[in-house]
């Protein structure tokens, strides 16, 4: 947060954009260090539920299920703030992509190569298939036999400094592929493969803190926010209930709009105020601590 003090009095629009970007990175680093396993823990909840049902045992409120319930509730209220600001996997993806952009810039390339937009749109349905597949594997009890395949396990192992990866070669290869994808395409994994993201996308996100725009106020023919958006979202009209479960709450669109046309469903907040962002991060942190992550 050094940057805030830097020109706190009257930052220009561009500087605000930088401040917001830095705030986001700092929060991401914070969560990466303090709570890197929210994503795997919550998703273990999903796996746990279906494994138990598959074997005919009761589903009790274990630490996994509590974490899953907590993160889902949070997401219903605040949107996928967790994805945008706290997920270790998503954060690493963001950093990889930032590196890609930086390299391109150094190499003097104005427009870094991007995968075809239409293709990405179709691919984004793959995550539901991944979710369904994992759920079925858990339900039928086969999941236990695929233990070497999970790229998340490998990720968590690397992160915690466990390098005994011999039994995890398939998972490691998948992880490297995923990282390659994240490198060229912002949030590739989140859009295309993440089963937890699929769960979030299916949640009924309340139109309170989700983002909307007043389309009639837009510049004619403008699509700046959509082009900036890692999920290629065309934001819904204010007052509708179409808050998209695919929005990561990265909040880049808010600063991008030349007319300041993008804001939360609730009129009082825009969505990227530092205080509001901080409050959401603290609530998330406290909630996850309570849930025992």
């Amino acid at each position: 947060m050094k940057k805030e003090k830097f020109d706190w009095k009257n930052p220009s629009k561009k500087q605000w954009k930088q401040i917001h970007a830095w705030t986001r990175t700092i929060i991401q680093i914070f969560f990466f260090v303090m709570m890197p396993s929210i994503f795997t823990t919550a998703f273990s909840g999903v796996k746990y539920i279906f494994t138990r049902i598959g074997t005919g045992e009761a589903v009790s409120m274990t630490a996994f299920v509590t974490a899953l319930a907590a993160i889902c509730l949070y997401t219903i209220v605040f949107g996928r703030f967790f994805c945008g600001f706290a997920c270790a996997f998503g954060s690493v993806g963001d950093w990889l992509h930032a590196l890609y952009l930086w390299i391109n810039k150094k190499a003097g390339k104005k427009k870094p190569w991007k995968p075809d937009r239409q293709l990405m749109k179709w691919l984004s349905y793959v995550k539901y298939a991944v979710l369904a597949l994992i759920v079925i594997l858990c339900f039928t009890g086969f999941y236990g036999k695929t233990s070497g395949w999970s790229p998340w396990d490998v990720f968590s192992m690397l992160r915690s400094g466990n390098l005994r990866l011999a039994a995890y070669i398939p998972g490691l290869i998948l992880l490297i592929l995923i990282f390659a994808g994240m490198f060229v395409e912002e949030r590739f994994f989140c859009k295309v493969l993440c089963p937890m993201g699929a769960v979030f996308s299916l949640l009924p996100i309340l139109p309170l803190y989700a983002l909307f725009r007043d389309r009639q106020n837009c510049l004619k023919g403008c699509s700046a926010c959509t082009r900036m958006c890692p999920a290629d979202l065309e934001l819904p009209e204010r007052g509708s209930f179409h808050a998209s479960g695919d929005c990561f709450q990265c909040q880049k669109c808010i600063d991008t709009c030349p007319k300041g046309n993008v804001r939360c469903g609730v009129k009082e907040v825009k969505g990227n105020e530092l205080l509001f962002t901080l409050i959401r991060a603290i609530i998330l942190f406290a909630l996850m601590k309570l849930a025992g992550v």
Binding site: T40, S44, F64, S160, N162, A243, V293
Partner: protein, 174 residues
């Protein structure tokens, strides 16, 4: 709006189904418990009858018995005792690889029983996983052996605990 409501219906449906499933299971478990207790009661009654019968028989033959059995029994007692001592009583530590590092446990044993297992340190395990994994401890205690199934979902950490207990027990056997 329609989509939004649909999503709500889905979520409520899923949560409802899981809750309903749990309810059915627990009521079934209750019914089974009642049956089990009933069966136990029956067999206990039966045993009681047998004991009473036996007692009467013993009383009738008491005089014959007394002389013959006292000497024999003494030998048996001492022999049994020696066989039954599995461990050297005390507290032993063991360690093994968990998820992110070493898991250290302390195992307390009496001559013939594992009486207590505590985790001394597991710094690199994720909290939620460790919470799940410690469920293996009661399993080990009731099986009186470290050779039990690991906790699914927390395989790494529970395997760590299991192996650490194994190591400690190896030190404890005479």
């Amino acid at each position: 709006m329609k989509q939004f409501l649909m999503k709500w219906v889905n979520v409520i449906l899923i949560v409802g189904l899981i809750a309903g499933y749990n309810l059915i299971l627990s009521s079934r478990a209750q019914a089974e418990e009642v049956l089990r207790l009933q069966a136990e009661l029956d067999s206990a009654n039966l045993k009681l009858e047998n004991v009473i019968e036996e007692n009467e028989w013993l009383k009738e033959n008491a005089a014959l018995f007394a002389a013959a059995s006292t000497s024999a029994r003494k030998d048996e007692d001492t022999e049994e005792n020696q066989e039954d001592t599995l461990y050297t009583a005390g507290t032993y530590t063991g360690e093994a690889q968990g998820f992110g590092g070493l898991v250290k446990v302390a195992v307390t044993v009496s001559d013939r029983e594992i009486t207590d297992i505590t985790i001394q340190s597991a710094d690199n395990e994720d909290t939620a996983y460790l919470t799940m994994a410690v469920d293996i401890i009661p399993a080990i205690l009731s099986a009186q052996s470290a050779d039990v199934d690991t906790i699914s979902g927390a395989t790494f950490s529970s395997t760590g605990i299991k192996h650490a207990v194994q190591q400690a027990l190896e030190k404890a056997v005479n």
